[in-house]
């Protein structure tokens, strides 16, 4: 009996060590980036590196003072916000329809949505570049947001579909019997229940757009987003600029993932269907 407990304890220790190692594997690289971002430019290019930053803000102020950075940052926020609104505005009604109705063509639509996953979507930017020039959408916030919405829309549809499916139809029916019409019932009963989940999928759409590189680099010239700006200046920009830029990309992402952590499974669990 004591032998098995020793074995179990040893096993537990290996398990805890493994967990600790994996946590280190995820967090250490992010820490190293922030060490660089929070050190003076001379330290960033200097050698050897220390594992604790000097908390010097010169690299960051160099980055934010660099011509075009503030604009790029602001463009990223704008594109991501429009993407967020579009993908929820277009995706949530579809998710609601899928969860509440059985109708011919439902499977075709679901197939269309699921199919988007089997295609390398950033490539869409190539033909759309021409279409946008024709329609005057080239190099605009809206044009890029439309492409990013294509990336985010399938998720928005599937997430809201699972959200609405989780809210019993009986609640809605009760509201109807009490004199609400469909729209009122939706606004007064369903929406408050679904709001946190919808917010989470909105945040997720924001993150998808915020992080996207290829389409942003292909479709924008003057109105570059932060990712496009960083990518196109990679071979000319000094190290402190790169690392401060990387940190500026990563920091919001940390908060976003924290905000939607409860919904990560709802989002990806349904990806299984």
């Amino acid at each position: 009996m004591t032998e098995t407990t020793t074995i179990r304890r040893a096993g537990n220790r290996v398990f805890i060590a493994g967990v600790a190692l994996l946590i280190l594997w995820v967090l250490l690289p992010i820490w190293l980036l922030f060490v660089n971002a929070l050190s003076a430019p001379a330290e960033v290019t200097g050698f050897p590196k220390r594992i604790i930053p000097s908390f010097n803000l010169d690299s960051l102020s160099f980055f934010f003072g660099f011509s075009g950075v503030i604009d790029a940052l602001w463009n990223s926020v704008k594109v991501a916000s429009v993407t967020m609104i579009l993908s929820i505005g277009v995706g949530a009604p579809a998710g609601y329809a899928l969860s509440r109705f059985d109708f011919p063509g439902k499977e075709v639509f679901r197939f269309l949505v699921v199919m988007t996953r089997a295609f390398p979507l950033p490539l869409l930017a190539l033909p759309l570049a021409v279409m946008f020039i024709r329609t005057g959408l080239d190099d605009t916030i809206l044009g890029l947001a439309l492409v990013h919405t294509t990336l985010a829309l399938p998720f928005a549809v599937l997430i809201t579909y699972s959200l609405f499916s989780g809210i019993p139809l009986e609640l809605e029916e009760a509201a109807w019997t009490l004199g609400c019409n469909r729209v009122q019932a939706f606004i007064k009963v369903i929406l408050p229940l679904a709001a946190p989940g919808i917010a989470a999928s909105a945040v997720f759409a924001f993150v998808i757009s915020w992080n996207e590189v290829f389409a942003a680099a292909v479709l924008t010239i003057e109105n570059r987003t932060l990712t496009a700006f960083l990518l196109q200046s990679l071979d000319v920009s000094p190290l402190p600029l790169k690392f401060a830029g990387g940190a500026a990309l990563v920091l919001p992402a940390l908060f976003f993932i924290f905000a939607v952590r409860k919904y990560l499974f709802a989002m990806w669990g349904i990806a299984n269907r």
């Binding site: 398990f15 493994g18 967990v19 994996l22 946590i23 995820v26 967090l27 690289p29 992010i30 980036l33 660089n36 050698f47 050897p48 590196k49 505005g89 277009v90 995706g91 009604p93 579809a94 329809a97 509440r100 109708f103 996953r117 089997a118 295609f119 390398p120 979507l121 950033p122 490539l123 869409l124 190539l126 033909p127 759309l128 021409v130 279409m131 439309l146 294509t150 829309l153 992080n211 590189v213 290829f214 990712t227 960083l230 990518l231 790169k242 690392f243 990387g246 990309l249 992402a253 940390l254 993932i257 924290f258 952590r261 990560l264 499974f265 989002m267 990806w268 669990g269 990806a271 299984n272």
Partner: protein, 280 residues
């Protein structure tokens, strides 16, 4: 009216996907066989004739072949850990999921801070006395170091997406199956191999398709770490579209990426086929 309602609700999304998903794919296929307003295969011959094409193609394939199995193993490990945890489950899950929200460009820059000449790896090597001087790690003399750096960055960044799908999938497996295995005296490994893995097939399918397609799209990580020293399909597509202003050839590259993506999707669907009646 009520009979039309679902269609009305689906209309915006359908219209959107037709305009910005189906139409561009038809267009890019069209562009790839079009040159000077005539149908031709010249774009493809120019693409295949360029000395960088086969390097880019095989680099992309090799990266996917190395990265995806490592990620699968790590994602399965992480998902098993998260499923087993009693305390601290949500915090550890959050930490494991962090890279999910991080851009591939940022991931490239993160690993650049490790691998650049005055970076943390050189600091460690000099500190340990392995080398006397910081060495140029990401140079053209040793592209294999660039390759390893890209593999690390990709594994670091994109394992989380597989993990989350697998955790969700493990949650769907009824507990009774594991309990039954316990009754018959199965070891942990046997339980994992004979119960969890087969039951996890649908999630494995989704995770693998998603991951393999993203692996063929690898771009910003490669550019951030290797510049143009290690060409991949996506960076060549970008190069032809921009520097060369050859949209037809870029479209041909896109068709190649599309073809391998679809081929592998079908392959994974076949290999991990789950009969309809056997789903949880």
């Amino acid at each position: 009216m009520p009979r039309m309602l679902p269609y009305l609700l689906l209309l915006p999304a359908t219209a959107f996907l037709c305009l910005f998903f189906l139409y561009p794919f038809v267009q890019v296929a069209h562009d790839s066989v079009m040159r000077n307003a005539a149908y031709t295969l010249e774009n493809f011959t120019r693409m295949a004739g360029h000395w960088k094409f086969s390097t880019a193609f095989w680099n992309t394939m090799l990266l996917a072949a190395v990265v995806v199995p490592i990620q699968l193993a790590m994602a399965l490990t992480m998902a098993s850990i998260v499923t087993k945890l009693q305390r601290g489950r949500s915090s550890i899950l959050y930490i494991f999921a962090i890279p999910l929200g991080i851009s591939d460009l940022a991931a490239g820059l993160i690993w650049l801070s490790v691998f650049e000449q005055s970076g943390f790896l050189n600091s460690l090597l000099v500190g340990l006395g392995v080398v006397d001087q910081p060495i140029l790690l990401l140079g053209y003399q040793n592209t294999w170091v660039i390759f390893i750096a890209i593999v690390l960055a990709e594994v670091w960044r994109a394992t989380a997406i597989m993990m989350v799908i697998l955790v969700a999938g493990m949650g769907l497996i009824p507990k009774e199956y594991g309990e039954a295995a316990d009754v018959f005296g199965a070891s942990r490994w046997q339980k994992f191999r004979r119960v969890t893995l087969p039951m996890l097939k649908p999630s494995l399918q989704t995770a693998l398709i998603l991951r393999v397609i993203l692996a063929f799209e690898v771009f910003a990580v490669v550019v951030a770490l290797g510049g143009t020293q290690l060409p991949v399909l996506m960076s060549e597509t970008y190069h032809w579209q921009f520097q060369m202003q050859e949209r037809g050839v870029a479209a041909a590259f896109a068709m190649v990426i599309l073809a391998v993506s679809v081929a592998f999707t079908i392959l994974i669907l076949r290999l991990l086929h789950v009969p309809k009646g056997a789903r949880v």
